[in-house]
């Protein structure tokens, strides 16, 4: 579904503060696969996700969605294939719009000729399917949503995008998207995320600092360091306890 081929990215080139964010990194994500990605700060997790969305242009290498070479594709075209959910609401949904307006924009941009009634119905369905009672927020401004509700609406928007023209599957990128939530919202949003990914067969990458999440969710664990993938654990070899994962990472880094 998603392939990165020898992708490199450096920041502050030719200065004494040069940083190698991605170092000839290869990465593949299969249709319907859920990958959790861990690594210390500056290991390249966020840069990797941003290179996929096109927010950051790679210095070298290729980004492919299925068989489509997206390396030179502008971000607003890549949006057909990939949706990115950020950590904070500052880079999330438009705050002054109501939830209904946000859902409406998403639905209109993906489904041509949808009626007003159809929009309302679909918006309600999407929100309710993520969490019972979430459609209560339809008339509210995004500004007034709690952190958890904000991320749930973000997921609802992502699920609308996943219904769009990218019938071959949609990629969901999650950048620490539950890290600023209280414990209850944290688990509610994580459950909804997992359910959305599984029910729609989305291909997902979740960058996280939370080892418990990296252990509990996903089909594959990826450890990133200095812009490279150092270790991967798939299927039977997946690490089962946060402590073990922590040990593995400190061993790898040593």
């Amino acid at each position: 579904m998603l392939r990165l081929k020898r992708v490199s990215k450096r920041f502050n080139i030719d200065s004494d503060r040069e940083v190698v964010a991605l170092n000839a990194l290869d990465f593949e994500l299969a249709r319907g696969e859920f990958v959790t990605m861990v690594g210390e700060n500056g290991s390249g997790k966020t840069t990797l996700l941003r290179v996929v969305t096109g927010e950051i242009a790679a210095d070298a290498g290729q980004v492919l969605f299925g068989n489509v070479d997206a390396t030179k594709m502008p971000p607003y075209h890549r949006a057909r294939f990939v949706t990115h959910i950020h950590q904070s609401r500052e880079s999330g949904l438009p705050l002054s719009l109501t939830v209904e307006e946000v859902m409406r924009l998403a639905l209109e941009s993906r489904t041509h000729g949808i009626t007003r009634r159809g929009i309302h119905q679909r918006a309600e369905e999407q929100l309710e399917s993520l969490r019972k009672g979430l459609s209560r927020t339809l008339k509210e401004q995004v500004w007034h949503l709690s952190g958890g509700e904000h991320q749930l609406v973000n997921l609802a928007v992502a699920s609308v995008f996943a219904d769009g023209p990218s019938k071959g599957g949609h990629i969901l990128l999650l950048d620490e998207h539950v890290s600023q939530l209280d414990p209850v919202a944290h688990s509610v949003v994580m459950e909804a995320t997992d359910q959305l990914i599984r029910s729609r067969r989305l291909s997902a990458v979740m960058a996280t600092h939370n080892f418990e999440l990296a252990v509990e969710y996903g089909d594959r664990q990826v450890v990133l360091s200095e812009g490279r993938i150092l270790k991967e654990f798939v299927g039977e070899s997946r690490i089962r306890s946060p402590r073990e994962l922590k040990d593995v990472i400190s061993n790898v880094l040593r």
């Binding site: 927010e55 502008p74 971000p75 607003y76 075209h77 949006a79 057909r80 949706t83 990115h84 880079s91 999330g92 949904l93 438009p94 705050l95 002054s96 719009l97 307006e101 946000v102 409406r104 924009l105 998403a106 209109e108 941009s109 401004q141 928007v157 995008f161």
Partner: protein
């Protein structure tokens, strides 16, 4: 008509003439979250373009359309400077406004002002009382602008523009090119401002390169006064409050120059208008900050 009624009448008329500027400025400053300083340039170029169009024998309504198109081009140029040449938001408008000043002089044949005897939109209605005729024409145009804005705001495009000002990345994920959207938004904003310049030129029957100076600050005052009186949640409500705010501003200004027979009138100079405008801008901003606990006049990231 007594003096007080005359004051209110004039304020109302001036409000109708200038309302499109405040609405246009709100599109840039509030909807798009873009501190666009093209305003004074597009205002005079709108006036000059409609002057040239009238001179060329075009019907007055068409001359307003010419001004609209000119304003759109001005806004698009500002947007182009920012999105394609990476010029900062503030500087992009300043550059365009500077260029437009010279362009306006050229349109006026190298003269600072030109008179036009007749043939304006205000000469299309013949009433015994010309000031009522003026009122009707100015009111009709302001009404049209409001209706057009209402249509814009309830459309998909309008919602996308609002989302753009709030969260550019969200527009990208909708599959829209934010650069194109910004250029389109600034075009709309400056088209309205240029329209207002054309209307004012036709009302005064004179096109003056300096008639644009001070327009930005007074429109900002109208915007902030409107927001202080009532902070509307909907864009539509906000647009109406722009007109109300412009009205309050003009009444306040009229009141300032009114002969209250208190003996202080002789200390007031005509040039104090900008001082008063500045105060009318700062005081409501302070009220917003202190009383309502919010301050939106200038975004700190601008």
């Amino acid at each position: 008509m007594n003096d007080m009624a005359a004051l209110l009448w004039t304020a109302a008329l001036v409000t109708l003439l200038y309302a499109p500027v405040t609405i246009g400025l709100a599109v840039a400053f509030r909807l798009l979250n873009y501190p666009d300083l093209t305003c004074e340039g597009s205002f005079i170029v709108g006036g000059a373009l409609s002057f040239v169009a009238l001179q060329a024998g075009l019907p007055p309504i068409l001359s307003l359309v010419v001004a609209l198109v000119g304003g759109m081009a001005a806004g698009a140029f500002t947007g182009w400077l920012h999105t394609q040449l990476r010029v900062s938001r503030l500087l992009s408008g300043i550059i365009t406004a500077a260029i437009l000043y010279s362009l306006t002089m050229r349109l006026l044949g190298g003269r600072a002002n030109r008179w036009i005897a007749t043939g304006t939109v205000f000469d299309t209605i013949h009433l015994k009382n010309t000031s009522i005729g003026d009122f009707i024409v100015a009111g009709l145009i302001a009404y049209l602008v409001l209706v057009l804005c209402a249509f814009l705001y309830v459309s998909h495009f309008g919602r996308v523009l609002r989302a753009l000002g709030d969260q550019e990345w969200f527009c990208v994920s909708l599959g829209k090119n934010p650069a194109t959207l910004l250029i389109a938004g600034l075009s709309i904003s400056n088209a309205l401002i240029a329209l207002s310049g054309a209307i004012l030129m036709q009302f005064k029957h004179v096109c003056d390169v300096n008639m644009g100076s001070g327009v930005l600050i007074s429109a900002l005052a109208g915007l902030v006064l409107g927001e202080t009186v009532h902070s509307a949640r909907s864009v539509w409500g906000h647009t109406v409050m722009c007109v109300v705010g412009t009205g309050i501003y003009n009444i306040a200004l009229g009141a300032f120059y009114f002969d209250w027979e208190l003996g202080i009138e002789r200390f007031i100079l005509p040039s104090d208008v900008r001082l008063v405008t500045g105060l009318l801008l700062i005081i409501p901003a302070l009220i917003l900050l202190r009383v309502k606990g919010r301050y939106r006049l200038f975004n700190s990231s601008w």
